[in-house]
Symmetry: C2
Subunit: 747 residues, 2 copies
C-alpha cells in the first residue's frame, strides 16, 4: 500500500520540476540575441498587437467565467438543495468546491495560455536572428520556445488537479474516492476558457489571414508578408493568438479533463476489484492516482525528447527528421515509465496479468496517435494522391477545386474512425480480459492516457509552427538576403507539417478522452442517483426522448461550426474593406496598384478592427456550446417519470455522445480538407500544373488560373482548419466536462 | 370486427383506381399536340438519351439486385438455418418469401421509375407547345404529366404490399401479425433500386450540368441551353433521369418501407392492447391495415387536388399559387379521410380517446411537413436574409461566397432538427396518453403516415420541375419568340421552387420514417430473439461496441457523400474535356470563340461519356451503403456473449440511428447550401449587386466578377443538392430496410 500523501507529493514534485524546467527554457530563449532594429520593429508590432488582443480577450473571458461561476454557485448552493447521496454534507460545501475548482481551472488555463504566448512572441525574433547564421540554432530556439507552452500546460494541469485533491483531502471530511466528483469543475473551468480562447484566437487569425490574402495577394498582386499590406501585422499577430494561445488552452483542458475522468474511472474500478476480493496492492487511491503519476513521468520523457533535438553538423538534415527523432525519444521513455507506473500501481495479486494488460492499452494509445499522424499526412501532403487530385481539379477552375476538396475532406473521415473504433474496442477487450471485474472501460481510459503521455512534446511541436511562421514573416518584412529566407522557409514548411499533425493528434485524443469522460459522467450519475434507486444507467437511444437528445447533439456541432465559420467570413470582409480604403487613393496602371516609394500602410487600424470583430463574434458560438447541453438537461426534466427518473440525464448523455461522434468526423472533415487545399496550392506553387505564372508568347507573364483556383480553395479552407475545426476539439471536451459538472442538476 | 379480406380488397381496389387514373392522365397528356418539327427534334434527342441511359442503368441495377437476391436466398435458406421462433416452418420458406418480396419490390420500383420518366419525356414537348398559346394549358400538362409518376409510385407501392400480404395470407400457414416480417423484403428491394437510381441519375444530371455550365457559360460565354453547347442535350437528359427517375424511386421506397414499418408497429400495439384487455373494435388486423387504408384514401385526395389546379381566366395568377391551392385541397381531403380511417380502425371501446389522439398525430405530421417547407423557403429563397448574405459575400470573390454558403448550410440544420424533435416527442406523448399501453411509438408512426398522406401530390409537384425545365430548354433551343420564353421561364422558376420544397419534405419524411423503421427493427429483433430470451432490447450507446457502431454509422454518411460528390466532379471533368476538344479548332478573337454559322456540335459523344461515367461511378457508393451495415452486423457477432446475445444487433441499431441523425443533418446541409447558392446567383442575375454585366466607361460591357463568384458557388452546390443530398435520403431508408431484412442474421 502506497500512502496517498507520498503519491500526491510525487506528482506535485514532478509538476514543479516541469515548471522549473520551463522557467529555465524561458531564460535560455531570452538570452539569445534579438537581431537588427528593423527586425525588432516588426517583432514589437506583433508583440503589441498580440498582447493587446490577449489582454482584452482574457478580460472578456474572465468576465464570462465569473458570471458563470456565480450561476454555478447559486445553482448548487441555493436552488438544487442538498441530497443525501452528495459527497459532502451541505449544499454550500458542494457549491463551494465546485465553484472553486471551476474558477481555479479557468484561471490556470488563462495563465498557461498567456505565458505560452508571452514566450512565443519573444522566440520568433530570436529564431529569425539565429537563422542569419545557423539553422540548428533557429530550430532549437523555436522548439524550446514552443516547449515552454507544452511544459507549462501539462505541469500546470497536473499541479492544479493534484493541488485541489490535496486541498479537499486535507479537510478530512470527504471520502477519497469521491474527491474527483468535487474537482470536476477544474476541467470544466479549463474547457470554458479554452473554448473562448480557441474561438476568439481562431476567428482573429483567419479573418486577418483571409483578409490580407484576398486584397494583398489576389487584388493588389503583392507577395505574402509584404510590408505594403496593411493587414500583414494583424496576420502575424493572428498566428500567435490563434495557434499558440488557442491550442495551449485546448490541450490544457484535454489533460486536465482526462486526468480527472481517469481518476473517477480508476476509483470505480479499484472499488469494484476490492469488493470482488481482488484488491490492488497499491490500494484504491493508488489506482486513482495512476493517471497523475503516469502523466508526471511523461513530463520528464518529453523534456528529454525536447533537449535531444538538434541537426547534424552540416545542417543538411531535414529539420522534420530532427523533430521526429526527439519525438521517438520521448515516446520510448514515456512508455518505459508507463510500464513502470503500471507495474507499481496497477498490480493486483489476484489478477497477476492485469498490470501488463493495462500497459498494453497504453501502448495501443501511443500507436493510435502514430496512426493518426500518418493518416493526416496521407490526406494533407502533396506527396500523396488526395492533394494531387485537388490540384488537378483546379485546372478546371475554382468550382471543381472546391468540389474535389470537399470530397477529400468527407472521405478522410473513414480511416480515423476505423482506427479509433479499433483502439476503443481492443483496449476495452484488453481491460475486460485483465482478470479484474468491469475493467474494460478502465482499459480504454488507460489507452487515452497512453495517447496523451507525450502531450508536452506534441504541444512543443505545435507551438513551433507559429514561431517559425512569425520568424519567416520577420525575415521577409525586414528584407533579409535570399539565403536566410530559404532557411526560415525550410523551418516554416516543417512548422506547417507539425501543425497539421498535431491537429490530427488532438482530434484523436479528443475522441478517446471524450469516451472516457462520458463514462465518468455515467459513473457520476450512478453515484449520485442510480445506485440508491437500484437502476442501471443506460443510454438507450431508441427511446424518443433520448433520440431527440442525440439529434440535438449532432445539430449543435453543425450550428456551432456555422457560427465560427461565418464569424471569420464577416470579420475578413471588414478587413478587406479597410485595406481597400487604404489603397483607394493609390495610383494604378492597368488596374495594378503602383505603390509610391514612401507608402506607409496603417497597420494599427487593421489590428484594431480584427480584435474587436473577433471578440464580439466569439460570444455567440461560445455561449451556444455552454448553454445548449444545460438547457436540454433542464428542459428535458419534464419527461422525468417515476419509472424513468434518469431520462433527462440520459438525453444529455445522448447529446454528449452523438455530439462527440459528429464532432469528431466534422472536425476531421474541416481540418483535413483545409490542410489539403492549403497544400494543393503549395504544390502548384512548386511549379506543378504550370506554377504560379504562365509565360505566354513573347515572354509575357500572366497569372496561372489554375493557381488562382487553388488560392480560392486555400482561402475557403482557412476558417475550416484553423477556426471551426480546432474549436470543435474544444467543444467536444467542453460538452463532456460541462455535463460532468452539471449532472446532479439533471436528476 | 372488420374482416381482413374486406380491408385488403378495399386497399387493392383503391390502388387499382389510382393506377387507372394514372393511365387516364397518360392518355390525356399524349393527346395534347406535340409542336413544330424543330421542337420535336430536340425532344426526340432528349428522349433517346434518357431512354438509352435508363435502359442501361436498369440493366446494371437489375444485375446487382439479382446477385443480391441470390446471396439473400443462400444466406437465409442454407447458411442461417431454421430457428424455432421463425414465422414459417422451414428455412427454405423464409428464404423464399424474403427473396420473393425483395425481387418484387425491386421490379416494381424499376417499373415505377421507368414509366414515370416515359411520361415526363413526352410531357415536356407538349408543355412547350402549349406554352405557345396558353400558360394554363402548359401548367396543367406539366402537372398532370408529373402526377402520373406520383400516382404510379403510391399506388404501386400500396398494391405491392397488399398483394404480397394477400399472397402470404392465402397460404394459410403464417400468423397474420407475422406476415409483415416476411414481406419487409419488398421495401428493401425498392430501396436497393432507389439508391442506385438516385445515385446514377444524380451523378448523370449534375456531371452534365456542371460540365455544360463550366465550358459553355464560363469559358465560351454562351447562354444556358444554347444549341451550340455540345453538352446541352446531356444536360436536358439529366433533368429527366436525375430528377424524375431518381426521386420517383426514392418516394416509392419511402411509402413502401413506411407502410410495412407502420404495419409491424400497429400489429405490436394491437396485440399489446388485446393482452391488456383493451382490444380494438377492428381487431388486430384492422389496426395493422390502418396504414394501408389511410394511404389508399390519400390517393383519392391527391387526385382531387391535382385536378383542381388551374389558373384564373386572364392567367395573371402566380402558377405557384395555383399549385398551392391544389395542395391545400389535397391536404384537407386527406386529413378528413385520415380522421375517418382513425375512427373506423383505431377505435378501442376501453380507450375512447385513442382514435382522436392518433388522428391528432396525423395532423401533427402534416403540420411538420408544412413547417419543413417554410424553413426550406427561408434558407433558400432570395427574399430572405441567408441568400442575401451569400450574394453580398460574392462581392469579395468566390472564396467568401463559398464560406458564406457553407455557413448557411451548416446553420440551416437547427430549425428542422428542433421541429422534427418536437414532432417526434409530441406525437409520442399523444400516443402515450391515448389510454392504451405502449402506444407512444405508434403515435410517432401515425405522424409519419400523416406526413406522407399527400405523397402523390408532392411527387407530382416534384416531377413538374424537370418537365417545365425541359420545356424551357426546348423553347430556348428551337428559338421561339421572347413572349413564349417568358411563359416557360415563369413555369421553370415555379418548378425550381417546387423541387426545393419537395426536397425539404422528403428529408423530413425520411427522418420520421426512419424513426418508425428502426422501431420496427427493434420490434423484429425482439420477436425473433428477445422475447424468448427474456431480454429487453435496448440500444445502449454507452457500451463501447455499440458506440463504435454509432461512429461507423456517422462515418458511412460522410464517406458515401464523398464518393457521390467526387463522382460528379470526375464525370464533369470528362465532359469538359470533350467540349474543349470539340471547341479546340474553332476560330477565336480576343479569346472569345467565334462560332461559324454552320457549327453543329456532336451531342451524342457527350451523352455517351456521361452515361458511361455515371453508371460506373454509382457502383462504389451504392455498394458501400449496402455492404457496410451487413458487414458490421456480421463482424460484430464476435462480441456476442452469453450475457449479451444481442450485441451485434445492437451495434447495427446504433449504426442505423446515428447514421440516420447524421444523414438528416448532412442532407439538410447539402440540399440547402446548394439551393441557397443557386438562388444567390439568380438574385444577382435579377440585377442586384451589379447584375450579370457591368457597364464601364464608354458603355463597354464587362462580366461582373460578383456574378462570376456566385456562379462558382452555384456550381459547387450542384452535386451537393442534386446528387449527394437526395442520395442520402435514400441511404437513410436503405439502412433501415436492409437492417430490417437482415436482422435475423445478426443474432
Amino acid at each position: 500500500m502506497v500512502s496517498t500523501a507520498t503519491l500526491i507529493l510525487l506528482v506535485i514534485a514532478f509538476s514543479i520540476f516541469g515548471l522549473l524546467f520551463a522557467a529555465y527554457l524561458v531564460r535560455w530563449v531570452l538570452q539569445r540575441p534579438t537581431g537588427s532594429e528593423a527586425m525588432q520593429q516588426i517583432s514589437n508590432a506583433i508583440k503589441e498587437g498580440a498582447e493587446a488582443f490577449l489582454r482584452r480577450q482574457n478580460r472578456t473571458i474572465l468576465l464570462l467565467a465569473a458570471a458563470f461561476a456565480i450561476v454555478l454557485f447559486i445553482g448548487y448552493g441555493f436552488i438544487r438543495g442538498h441530497h443525501d447521496f452528495d459527497p459532502v454534507s451541505s449544499s454550500m460545501q458542494l457549491a463551494g468546491w465546485i465553484t472553486l475548482s471551476f474558477v481555479f481551472g479557468a484561471a490556470c488555463s488563462v495563465i498557461a495560455g498567456y505565458v505560452g504566448m508571452w514566450v512565443s512572441i519573444r522566440s520568433n525574433i530570436r529564431t529569425a536572428h539565429a537563422a542569419l547564421s545557423s539553422l540548428n540554432d533557429a530550430l532549437r530556439i523555436a522548439l524550446r520556445g514552443g516547449a515552454v507552452s507544452g511544459l507549462l500546460v501539462v505541469a500546470m494541469s497536473l499541479l492544479g488537479v493534484s493541488g485541489l485533491y490535496a486541498l479537499v483531502s486535507a479537510t478530512g471530511t470527504v471520502e477519497p474516492t469521491k474527491i474527483p466528483l468535487l474537482i470536476v469543475g477544474y476541467g470544466f473551468g479549463a474547457s470554458f476558457v479554452a473554448l473562448f480562447a480557441q474561438l476568439g484566437g481562431g476567428i482573429y487569425t483567419k479573418a486577418a489571414d483571409v483578409g490580407a490574402d484576398l486584397v494583398g495577394k489576389v487584388e493588389a498582386g503583392i507577395p505574402e508578408d509584404d510590408p505594403r499590406n496593411p493587414a500583414v501585422i494583424a496576420d502575424l499577430v493572428g498566428d500567435n493568438v490563434g495557434d499558440c494561445a488557442g491550442r495551449g488552452a485546448d490541450l490544457f483542458e484535454s489533460t486536465a479533463a482526462e486526468n480527472i475522468g481517469a481518476m473517477i474511472l480508476g476509483a470505480s474500478l479499484a472499488a469494484a476489484a476490492e469488493k470482488a476480493g481482488m484488491a490492488f496492492s497499491a490500494g484504491i487511491v493508488g489506482v486513482m492516482m495512476f493517471p497523475l503519476v503516469a502523466r508526471a513521468f511523461g513530463i520528464v520523457a518529453s523534456i528529454v525528447g525536447i533537449m535531444a533535438v538538434r541537426l547534424d553538423k552540416e545542417e543538411k538534415m531535414d529539420p522534420m527528421q530532427a523533430l521526429n527523432r526527439g519525438y521517438y525519444v520521448a515516446v520510448v521513455l514515456a512508455m518505459i515509465a508507463f510500464g513502470g507506473a503500471s507495474y507499481w500501481l496497477l498490480n493486483s495479486p489476484a489478477a497477476p496479468n492485469a498490470w501488463w494488460h493495462f500497459f498494453l492499452c497504453g501502448i495501443l494509445g501511443v500507436l493510435t496517435s502514430v496512426a493518426f499522424v500518418y493518416i493526416t499526412q496521407y490526406y494533407t501532403e502533396y506527396r500523396y494522391a488526395p492533394v494531387r487530385l485537388i490540384a488537378d481539379a483546379s485546372t478546371t477552375g475554382p468550382a471543381t477545386n472546391i468540389i474535389a476538396g470537399v470530397a477529400v475532406g468527407l472521405e478522410c473521415t473513414w480511416m480515423p474512425t476505423v482506427v479509433m473504433g479499433a483502439a476503443l474496442l481492443s483496449s476495452y477487450y484488453l481491460g475486460a480480459t485483465s482478470g479484474l471485474p468491469h475493467a474494460g472501460l478502465f482499459g480504454t481510459a488507460v489507452a487515452t492516457m497512453g495517447m496523451l503521455a507525450t502531450a508536452a512534446y506534441i504541444l512543443a511541436m505545435d507551438t513551433f509552427g507559429p514561431i517559425t511562421d512569425n520568424a519567416g514573416g520577420i525575415v521577409e518584412m525586414s528584407q533579409q538576403p535570399e539565403e536566410v529566407r530559404r532557411k526560415t522557409d525550410r523551418l516554416d514548411s516543417v512548422g506547417n507539417t507539425t501543425k497539421a499533425l498535431t491537429k490530427g493528434y488532438a482530434i484523436g485524443s479528443a475522441g478517446l478522452a471524450a469516451f472516457l469522460l462520458f463514462q465518468a459522467y455515467m459513473d457520476e450519475v450512478v453515484q449520485y442517483a442510480g445506485l440508491d434507486l437500484g437502476l442501471p444507467f443506460k443510454v438507450d437511444i431508441s427511446k424518443p426522448v433520448v433520440f431527440v437528445g442525440g439529434m440535438l447533439g449532432a445539430m449543435l456541432v453543425f450550428l456551432f461550426s456555422a457560427l465560427a465559420i461565418r464569424a471569420v467570413g464577416r470579420a475578413a470582409q471588414s478587413i478587406i474593406e479597410e485595406v481597400r480604403r487604404q489603397y483607394a487613393k493609390l495610383p494604378r496602371v492597368h488596374d495594378m496598384i503602383q505603390f509610391p516609394a514612401d507608402f506607409k500602410p496603417d497597420y494599427g487600424t487593421c489590428v484594431d478592427i480584427v480584435t474587436k470583430s473577433a471578440l464580439r463574434r466569439m460570444i455567440a458560438p461560445g455561449l451556444l456550446a455552454v448553454l445548449m447541453p444545460v438547457s436540454v438537461g433542464l428542459l428535458f426534466r419534464v419527461f422525468i417519470t417515476k419509472a424513468d427518473p434518469l431520462i433527462a440525464a440520459e438525453a444529455v448523455a445522448a447529446l454528449l455522445m452523438v455530439g462527440t461522434i459528429v464532432g469528431i468526423i466534422t472536425a476531421l472533415f474541416l481540418n483535413n480538407s483545409g490542410g489539403a487545399w492549403d497544400n494543393a496550392k503549395k504544390y502548384i506553387e512548386t511549379g506543378a500544373l504550370g506554377g504560379k505564372y504562365l509565360t505566354g508568347p513573347g515572354g509575357v507573364k500572366t497569372k496561372n488560373p489554375t493557381h488562382g483556383a487553388a488560392v480560392v480553395g486555400d482561402t475557403v479552407g482557412d476558417p475550416f482548419k484553423d477556426t471551426a475545426g480546432p474549436s470543435i476539439h474544444v467543444l467536444i471536451k467542453l460538452l463532456s466536462t460541462i455535463t460532468l459538472v452539471l449532472a446532479p442538476l439533471f436528476l
